[in-house]
């Protein structure tokens, strides 16, 4: 029994090579979309002409310079980080909840961030002027971020007893918390003026239009740390797919994986939502698609989710910026309008696999 069968090449059913090949493909794709995105925009400024002029020391028109360095570049970087964060958080949450439809919303992050944003938009004026001035127009982002974290920590505290987090309790408490947060949001919305209501609507549809280096500098570290940490819980999430008890039996420290998964997803989502508002669907469609192609093992799933999420969001943002130029369509509308039907098509064409 000790003797192992001789290694006869790759093990049938081991899809790691697929994951690796897809990662290479997606990297190339992301690079192409990024280059395309830098070159396209409402203003028709050619990124390459500007870049070459700038590097060769020629005078560059101030508008062209602003378009390239203060609009398109920070926006591209924000798109990459936000897209990667949303998709990776989605994949992590689906692994943690053992459900392909889970998203970071179940952690209360979205509801909390929404409440934070609404409170800042409607009641920001009630803050002491010194605080308001210090936060400046980042008040909405900051408030959304802290709102998301407070909601998530509350939920975690409610569902953790004697060092064990009950995922089922978390799911149910999350529904209750979302209802309460919704009520408070409703109360604040009731106080809002017309202008504030318009702002709330646009916030909810999401946009990368507010991207700036300052905002990115504040949000990027958290998203980068979360993205870099995510591969560390890949094995743990694989184990959880067999069930919590089974995961422990194969040697996984289940509670540690759960806490790490929640922190990672909440950190990445909180930062992403804070700087871009509510962008839906990326977190569900991207991981689902990748599971269909290269299987559900998390090592490559998490990496590829980051790559595909970034590609999708940068692409969607390019459409959002150019389709009704010079005006702009909120990106949440694009992701849902393309993501929705595409997801349905994937579901219908894979019906047999799903039902089995």
């Amino acid at each position: 029994m000790v003797a192992l069968e001789a290694d006869a090449g790759r093990l049938d059913g081991d899809r790691a090579h697929l994951g690796r090949n897809i990662a290479i493909l997606l990297s190339v794709l992301l690079l192409s979309v990024a280059i395309l995105s830098l070159g396209h925009g409402a203003s028709g400024v050619s990124a390459w002409t500007v870049l070459i002029d700038w590097m060769t020391g020629q005078t560059v028109d101030v508008t062209d310079r602003v378009v390239l360095f203060d609009i398109r570049l920070p926006r591209l970087a924000t798109g990459i980080l936000v897209g990667a964060s949303l998709a990776v958080s989605g994949a992590i949450m689906q692994g943690l909840f053992r459900n392909p439809l889970a998203d970071p919303g179940l952690l209360g992050v979205s509801a909390g961030a929404g409440l934070g944003a609404i409170a800042a938009l409607v009641m920001g004026g009630l803050l002491p002027p010194a605080v308001a001035a210090a936060a400046g127009w980042h008040l909405v982002s900051l408030s959304a971020f802290f709102g998301g974290w407070i909601a998530m920590l509350t939920l975690y505290a409610i569902s953790t007893r004697q060092g064990r987090t009950s995922i089922a309790t978390m799911l149910l408490a999350g529904i209750a918390l979302a209802a309460m947060v919704g009520a408070v949001s409703g109360l604040i919305v009731y106080r809002a003026t017309d202008d504030q209501l318009r702002d709330l609507t646009f916030w909810g549809l999401g946009s990368l239009a507010g991207a700036s280096w300052t905002k990115l500098a504040a949000a990027a570290p958290l998203m980068l740390v979360a993205l870099a940490a995510s591969p560390l819980i890949a094995r743990g999430l694989d184990g959880l797919a067999l069930g919590e008890a089974m995961a422990a039996h194969v040697g996984i420290r289940v509670q540690r994986v759960k806490a790490a998964a929640i922190l990672t997803a909440a950190g990445a989502t909180g930062a992403a939502v804070a700087i871009s508002g509510g962008i839906g669907f990326v977190g569900i469609v991207v991981p689902h698609l990748l599971r269909l192609v290269a299987g559900p093992r998390h090592r490559w799933l998490l990496i590829n989710s980051a790559l595909l999420g970034a590609t999708v969001l940068v692409g969607a943002d390019m459409i959002s910026r150019t389709i009704i130029a010079p005006a702009e369509l909120p990106i949440g509308i694009i992701t849902a309008m393309i993501g929705g039907p595409f997801f349905l098509w994937v579901l219908l064409s894979n019906r047999r696999t799903l039902d089995a």
């Binding site: 059913g13 053992r98 392909p100 094995r235 694989d238 067999l242 422990a248 039996h249 996984i252 299987g295």
Partner: protein, 260 residues
Amino acid sequence: MSLVARGLDVDLGKRRVLRGIDLTAPAGQLTAIIGPNGSGKTTLLRCLTGEIAATSGTVFLNGRDTALMRPEDLASVRAVLPQQTTLSFPFTVAEVVSIALTASPTPMADRAGLVRSALSQAGLPGYSGRLYQQLSGGEQQRVQLARALAQVWTPTGRDGPRWLFLDEPVSSLDIAHQMHVMETVQAYARDGGGVIAVMHDLNLTAMFADHVMLMCAGRIVASGTPQDVMTDRNLSDVYNIKIVRNCVPADGIWVLPQAS
């Protein structure tokens, strides 16, 4: 080297499910736990594997208190086969088996061979590319057995014997596969490993077990060789139905693999 439990009490909610369990299961033997539904067999197994904590009492595996062992150390000494495992995502058979190697010291280069060997051992050669969710219940159960075997592939290691904890390992299998699986785990015990199995089939128990523990209402009421434990009286009392051993019925047909 053995599995030892001392004074185990287990409460589920407010109900006491196990009372004062003392047991010793030596490595090198196949130990079967039998008893009627609700007698606490599965709870005992879950407590022995550390899945649920005992209200009081201690479990020692190879002389170490399991409550104090790190999950990855425990995983390198014992593998567990639960009654049923549902997967949340469409994994292939190969992927399910390799997930068991998470904490395994097996070098990456040898893992493909290990997965293949474990699948052949469970009677599933060539299944590694199939999707787990598309397999029958019996096939899924054998994939899980392969997963458990892969996790503790060598029955003995430098630090002592390895252990298999099996909860009704043959419940979904046809008679041929029942025999094959029981022979496989019996061989594991013969090679020095320890096997603890919760069993429903008394014939298979009598045929393969070296050691039988009969449970009733949360206690072990008899323990020893099948010959000593599975008496007409013990079985009749515990299962609450008249049972007569080694007696051929007057008419009808019956199927006993032992006979062949």
